[in-house]
Symmetry: C4
Subunit: 207 residues, 4 copies
């Protein structure tokens, strides 16, 4: 399993995880990170369940097939692996899926059906967005421990291919990209904009 290519993958995912941990976006064992190792057939490199996300190394990842059978690595896949599978299956260009838990995202997800972000230059960091005159809609889905039902809802949701991520209420962000670097950029862009939105709506003159 430790070919030069897979090691590179681990390094990129582990670097992203370490940085997210430093920023307080994957405290405890929260969050999980994956990358597509092959599309035909689907093979996914994904963090094993229950690990501290700030201290991942090349023993922290599993390689699984489309049914989440373990092909390499030790440990077991997280219950949320189904969500990663759904995203890879539904979106043919996605090469990496990242899931984080942040304070500002959690706060924004409390009572909205979607987090809408409009008019910021930073939106141009999302793939395909070329102007700040853009409205990004991050759907908020009810959180549940029934990941099978949840995956079906997400499958439906992904019919809207304009979105770059979704939020599980009071839980966390799922975002993705063609590469780990693009997915990581999307996490950063969303977290920046969540903080801007969160601090705006806390001000006395906010609507």
């Amino acid at each position: 399993m430790k070919t030069a290519e897979s090691t590179k993958t681990y390094t990129e995912l582990a670097d992203a995880a370490r940085e997210f941990y430093r920023r307080g976006w994957v405290f405890g064992t929260s969050g999980n990170f994956s990358m597509l190792a092959s599309r035909e057939p689907i093979r996914i490199t994904i963090t094993a369940s229950g690990l501290d996300k700030g201290r991942l190394d090349d023993t922290s990842f599993l390689e699984i097939d489309a049914d989440s059978n373990i092909l390499a690595g030790s440990g077991k896949p997280s219950a949320e692996t189904q969500i990663h599978q759904t995203i890879y299956r539904r979106l043919p260009n996605v090469g990496s899926v990242l899931h984080t838990h942040s304070v500002w995202g959690t706060l924004l997800s409390e009572d909205r059906g979607a987090i809408e972000i409009e008019g910021y230059e930073m939106l141009k960091g999302l793939a395909g967005v070329t102007t700040h005159e853009h409205t990004e809609r991050v759907p908020v889905i009810e959180n549940t421990q029934d990941y099978t039902a949840l995956s079906k809802d997400i499958e439906t949701l992904l019919a809207d291919t304009s979105i770059h991520g979704f939020y599980l209420r009071r839980h966390g962000l799922y975002t993705w990209g063609e590469t780990v670097a693009e997915a990581r950029r999307h996490v950063e862009i969303f977290e920046f904009l969540f903080e801007v939105l969160g601090r705006s709506s806390g001000r006395p003159d906010s609507p």
Copy 2:
């Protein structure tokens, strides 16, 4: 005292302390950290009093018995050692106790009898919690410099084995776990949720 095993302990406790210091949760000489070296008879590895918690090394720890007599190491145990003793004595599965001081925790402890946290996925980072549909109650105890009286109150409090920590008002958090890693995870989970709760209650539309 420097067997391979005890060195491992020091390293884990010192790593946690360094990370907590970086995040601003153990400024100055605040906080203290311990781990059970043996249960029969009780032997505890604990930070010596008065040290800067961001710069601990293997000379920063004492080994003490159930009466806080020093078995190894130099320096003296902190006055709060009694609280650690009480927790180890009362909770037979606890292997590590961590005590931190954070801004958000301090703020939340100002005027509540307990900090109640409900409905967040992050709660699943607490040992034994398997769903976000959980209410975690962190009792808030009046702060005092009489640690003997305080230890008795804590002894009573610990009859409720559903809790994962308690807060000394305007002082700091005590939490624990079977291992240092679990206790550290509990600190991170509580701090995340304290910030979420603190930022929520500061908002104009909060109840």
Copy 3:
């Protein structure tokens, strides 16, 4: 291109970028950084477009002439290169231009024609300011994707030589200095004061 002198330049710009990334001021691929390599004729060392600003090295920079033709390096200049050109052309003493995106700056730029900062000692960190009894005016310009038009507006704006920077609304800060160190100091001073101002205006007793 890798003379000892140009390497020094890269290092200073890359160090500044890394530090700004750590602070959350250049998330994703946002921000860009430049330094004057020569004034007669104008030659500018500038970050290539689309790079992650937290991980720049000496392959991340281009050398361009006054018409933005590439003289050395690979990649293409960012669309915002025109703004850098305008600043160097218009202000004969400027040796470095830095552009960042921060949460507090973004918030302050929402609905003001200018960000006015007055009475703080920290203002003395701006070149030529010798007392806290100073009012610094940071003009806020409407954001646009038409960088040619924008550059003309900026050219007009720079007739006021008392300013040390300007803000593109909901986008980011442009500031400059005789050296990279001075420009970097200006970023830090502005970010500090933006946070002070942002936190002040969010308080119930603010005007």
Copy 4:
């Protein structure tokens, strides 16, 4: 000048400065740091003027006498050196003086005659304070560029030997200790408590 002892001093001061910079308490060239090299006669090791405080090394310090004549090192003493001199002269047990600029301190100093802090365990981090049932008063002095006049005001202020620091309005904190470690601890304690106080007073239910 580079004896083993003086190198130790530089290292401690430079470490403190680097950590304060990381936390955003000495942005730009703000702040200055000193330590008593000898009391009879007075010799002070102090940061030279105009340096970036996050990147100090052993060339960044001057040794001066009681009249601020330079005995060793290059560069010139900061204008605020007089304040350090006053503190060392007036308080015979002080071995180190640290001056920082933080967002929360700046905000609290806006409109108070003194910052009063009461009832927090963290107060015990201040030398001589043994209980949380303590009121610490941090006098706020008007900021001025006339450091000679200011030093006289500070001389008067220091007649109250119960204080551990004072604040120049909209400028920054001065605190001290018998050693660099104690002075550094005081900075951390004050900054923690300033943030607690600042976040409390911003809340809708604050008095």
